[in-house]
Amino acid sequence: MNSLKKQLYKYVNNPLDPNINFDLGLEYENIGQTAAALSFYLRCAELTEDKTIAYESILKTHKCVAKQTRRPVWEQEQLITALTHLPQRPEAYLLLSLWHSGREEWKAANSYAVQGLEIANLNLAPLKSDVGYPGHYALKFQKAFTCWWVGQRDLSIKLWKELFKDIHLLPKDKYYEVILNNCKNFDIIDEKQYNKLTQE
């Protein structure tokens, strides 16, 4: 029996268990069946009494539909639903900032990045699954990026410098590459440093 079917049987024997619903959503998400995944994540959100799990489940519904593309209005509102449910957590701020910067709505993108850094509690334990939040550095990245577009260019460069200072702590993901590029473009690092870090 494959892992999806095993999890399905767990669900059938206990359909009101929020964690089992969540895990069945994960099984479907892992194979790209995002509509099915949404059903079970949403049930988890409604069933659980744990606010963090509900928040994570709502962000998962967003991730599923975002993967389907072409539903941006719903995406934005679902992120606002998550943010409203648990404004102490940072993930929804980042995702809303990304949503707006993807549309070159720089003021809103900047606002959510700043709110994420200023209002959210960055000491909370990470969520247990991938909702599209790689770490707090992504919020700082969004702030640096959007500051440039809202006229706060000195602050933007200061933030790129801070991000570079901690670059050794970051995973080599898409953020890492852009940070290095921007640091090179703003003469924060020279060509030699750039080449060394990108070739590592």
């Binding site: 079917k5 194979i31 099915a36 995944a37 409604e46 389907q68 719903w74």
Partner: protein, 346 residues
């Protein structure tokens, strides 16, 4: 009410299997409302692919989305609710999909002019050696009028083409005619209404055409050929669901009922319930189950019922987002709750 009969199945010799078309072909949107047909040694299925994701908030309904607790998340740059169909061959032991192919309807398509596009809830059936799918289409008139269509299918190794498409016209028809249940062993007969029973027969030689805004539709007539006066007092209409199959010399199908309402603020919501209905060979009502649900959720829909050996096979959609086939050994019918017909006859 039994709200999770899948639990009875998997713990009593039955099984439950997810039916999946790769997400590369569907963008991950919903697969639902599977029809079944035992075609000689082959178990055929038709899986409906809806190009949306259904959002249905249940229980305390804390998480309304932008469009309420029940919303169709269609692409926001395409406000249609579009359906496609995949015909499949299932492994009779595991019920997993062995082969699947998208039904190519391009030969008969005309420009859709209403928001529900495509052949919905198609049932697969072979009558007189010809393979058909038969469901409702609502996209040819600006008012969304729905009519059952009978579509001949030419399925070869590498193609599956809708060869003909005929719109079935009944002398007395409503704005929306859908969910007629094809009777497997009575070619071209459908149950149009279950309570009281009305069976129609398609007049295969009475073909005509109807001109509509975007083209000309081939049509075919039908007439009511069997009616029964016996009527039950039930909370909602019994609407069609599965094919009608013969089991132990009796006719059997699965119906659905909908409790549909609006929350304050005009946000729509719905519960769906199902029943097994059994008639004798002369179409006298024998048994009607009490309402049940499959997997403890509020929106489910059955299009599929087949018999493989001593197992009933039942297929259903879960919130329009996922589809399943359940093996239900015949003796488990006694684990369902059954109506006392003497108490509910009108």
């Amino acid at each position: 009410m039994l709200n999770n009969i899948s639990q009875i199945a998997i713990n009593n010799g039955g099984s439950l299997t997810p039916l999946i078309i790769p997400s590369e072909l569907t963008d991950g949107t919903g697969l639902c409302n599977v029809s079944l047909f035992m075609d000689g040694d082959e178990l055929l299925a038709n899986i409906r692919h809806v190009h949306y994701t259904l959002y249905h908030s249940e229980f305390d309904q804390k998480f309304y989305c932008k469009w309420g607790v029940l919303a169709y998340l269609n692409p926001e740059d395409d406000l249609t609710l579009t359906t496609g169909n995949y015909l499949c061959k299932l492994d009779r032991k595991t019920h997993e999909i062995k082969e699947f192919i998208n039904v190519d309807t391009s030969k008969n398509d005309i420009k859709p002019i209403w928001s529900f596009v495509g052949l919905e809830d198609a049932r697969v059936i072979r009558w007189n050696k010809t393979l058909y799918i038969s469901g409702v289409r609502r996209d040819v008139k600006t008012n969304g009028e729905g009519r059952m269509e009978l579509c001949e299918i030419d399925w070869k190794d590498d193609s599956c083409v809708e060869k003909t498409r005929e719109r079935i016209q009944h002398p007395s028809q409503n704005y929306l005619e859908k969910n007629w249940m094809p009777i497997n062993d009575m070619p071209f007969h459908y149950i149009k209404w279950t309570n009281p029973l009305e069976i129609i027969k398609v007049n295969t030689k009475d073909k005509s055409t109807e001109k509509v805004q975007e083209g000309i539709l081939p049509t075919i007539s039908c007439d009511t050929v069997i009616t029964k006066k016996e009527e039950l007092e039930l909370p909602w209409d019994l609407r069609g669901g599965s094919n009608v199959i013969k089991v132990d010399n009796q006719y059997m199908c699965i119906t659905h009922e909908v409790d549909f309402w609006h929350h304050p603020g005009h946000f729509k919501d719905a519960f769906y319930y199902h029943r097994i209905v059994i008639w004798d060979k002369d179409w006298n009502l024998v048994r009607v189950s009490k309402q049940f649900q499959y997997m403890a959720t509020r929106i489910e829909f059955t299009c599929g019922l087949a018999l493989d050996g001593d197992d009933l096979l039942i297929s259903f959609g879960y919130q329009d987002n996922a589809s399943y086939i359940m093996r239900w050994p015949k003796p488990l019918l006694e684990k369902l709750e059954w109506e006392d017909l003497n108490k509910i006859r009108k």
